[in-house]
């Protein structure tokens, strides 16, 4: 995982990229990467995770909330949330930082669309 290889990934704090803008339409986030001029549509569960990314919650805290809301095992939620957030990070829509780190930075470019969490239930 980018820049968090030496820490517990669950303790990383995800930030929305300053270069992303979004609206939530019918429960799905439409995210525009301003720098890359790309539009991504995130499914409902991914959108819930996106909503919970506020620059203060850790990945583990987000996973805990998702596990409770969707009635799934915390470990499953953690793995899926982490995978999803890492994909957002690869697509430069989000940044994962160690807990003590500051806010999100600006990136240069991005290349692909974001996908939704794999094993989490679809829809809500």
């Amino acid at each position: 995982m980018n820049k968090t290889t030496n820490i517990d990934p669950g303790k990383a704090i995800p930030f929305k990229s300053e270069d992303s803008v979004f609206r939530i339409v019918d429960g799905e986030a439409v995210v525009v990467d301003v720098s890359g001029n790309m539009v991504s549509v995130i499914n409902r569960v991914g959108t819930r995770i996106w909503e919970l990314v506020d620059g203060s919650r850790t990945v583990r805290e987000i996973a805990g909330l998702i596990a409770a809301e969707y009635n799934i095992a915390v470990q499953t939620a953690l793995e899926d949330a982490l995978g999803f957030l890492q994909e957002l990070s690869r697509n430069e829509l989000a940044v994962l930082r160690p807990a003590a780190h500051g806010g999100p930075g600006r990136k240069n470019e991005k290349k692909t669309n974001a996908a939704a969490p794999g094993s989490l239930p679809k829809g809500s």
Partner: protein, 328 residues
């Protein structure tokens, strides 16, 4: 996608401008604009394109852009660039719009300046594009081809490539608000459009305007106006799109939501190809880029005949036939 005309004031006097006679004595104030931005964000509007007039004629432009960015809009800016300064460019880089799109009509200063009516405007626009690019701001070179700059295509394309700008061009003009038809005086005639397409569109073009290369079904919507587009004028009128100059409400007296959900827009939204009585049987329809707003300006009816579109469609079909004859 919303287009928002922030002002009709402009420091240039382009010969083909459709808005030269517009006046908006009661431009929305910054607090009013902030209030409307909040309403648009609440309505899930995401893409916002600020245009004019010349947007940099507003001294509070940067405050408007910052407010829009804070509301989470993806911003496009249309400008002539002549009022951009190093300091404003620095501020613009922080705001980080999707793109800043600047009107540039020629690489020969004399040609560009004769179109804008202002000597020295060419060098300022070129400098503005470079200022933006130096700061990593994404830019587009926007050109309308007229009788006077047809020979400038290659130089403009090369400049766009050199500055890593998108090159966006058109050759169709809109009627002016005051009834003038700049296309007749300054625009390309059918032969010129045909030759332009043959020379610059490449072997695959002119493509048919319809992706599936078929005639439209009568049940198809003619346009996205009032559905996924709208426009706001400097004094707060809401239009179905930038080209259809019919207000469906004013944001000073009504909320955006109440205007957007008003039945006044339904008639426009419900317009289908079947209602285009003059067009459905036309042999050129597959090449037609008909604009309801231009039709409204030309014949008073968004469903009526657009002579500008007819001319362009005939030219495109002729060019296609010629390319077919040449084996392209």
């Amino acid at each position: 996608m919303a287009h928002w005309e922030l002002t009709y004031r402009c420091n240039l006097e382009c010969v083909h401008c459709y808005a030269t006679k517009r006046r908006a004595p009661g431009e929305l104030s910054l607090p009013e604009i902030k209030k409307i931005l909040a309403q648009l964000a609440e309505a899930n509007c995401l893409f916002l394109c600020f245009t004019g007039g010349e947007i940099f004629c507003r001294r509070d432009l940067m405050s408007i852009l910052r407010a829009a960015r804070e509301r989470g809009f993806a911003l496009r800016l249309l400008t002539n660039g002549t009022l951009l300064t190093e300091q404003l460019a620095d501020e613009l880089a922080v705001i980080n719009p999707l793109s800043v799109e600047m009107s540039l009509y020629a690489m020969k200063p004399s040609v560009h300046d004769s179109i804008t009516g202002v000597p020295g405007s060419h060098s300022k626009t070129v400098a503005a594009i470079r200022m933006c690019r130096e700061r990593g701001i994404r830019t587009a070179v926007k050109t309308i081809f007229l009788k006077y700059n047809l020979g400038e295509y290659r130089a403009l394309a090369d400049f766009a490539r050199a500055t890593k700008s998108r090159f966006v061009f058109d050759y169709l003009l809109s009627p002016a608000d005051d009834g003038r038809r700049p296309m007749d005086e300054h625009g390309l005639n059918e032969d010129e459009i045909c030759q332009f397409l043959l020379k610059h569109s490449g072997p695959r073009a002119p493509a048919k305007k319809r992706a599936d290369s078929s005639r439209p079904e009568g049940s198809e919507p003619i346009c996205g106006l009032g559905c996924n587009t709208f426009a706001v004028t400097p004094c707060g009128d809401v239009l179905p799109c930038l080209a259809v100059r019919q207000s469906v409400g004013n944001l000073r007296s009504r909320s955006f939501k109440s205007i957007w959900t008003d039945s006044a827009l339904d008639k426009i939204r419900d317009a289908r190809y079947a209602a285009l009585k003059d067009c459905m049987g036309c042999e050129y329809i597959e090449y037609c880029a008909r604009c309801p707003g231009v039709a409204l300006a030309e014949c008073g009816n968004i469903l009526g005949r657009s002579y500008t579109a007819c001319r362009a469609a005939r030219a495109a079909m002729r060019a296609r036939k010629e390319l077919n004859r040449r084996g392209n």
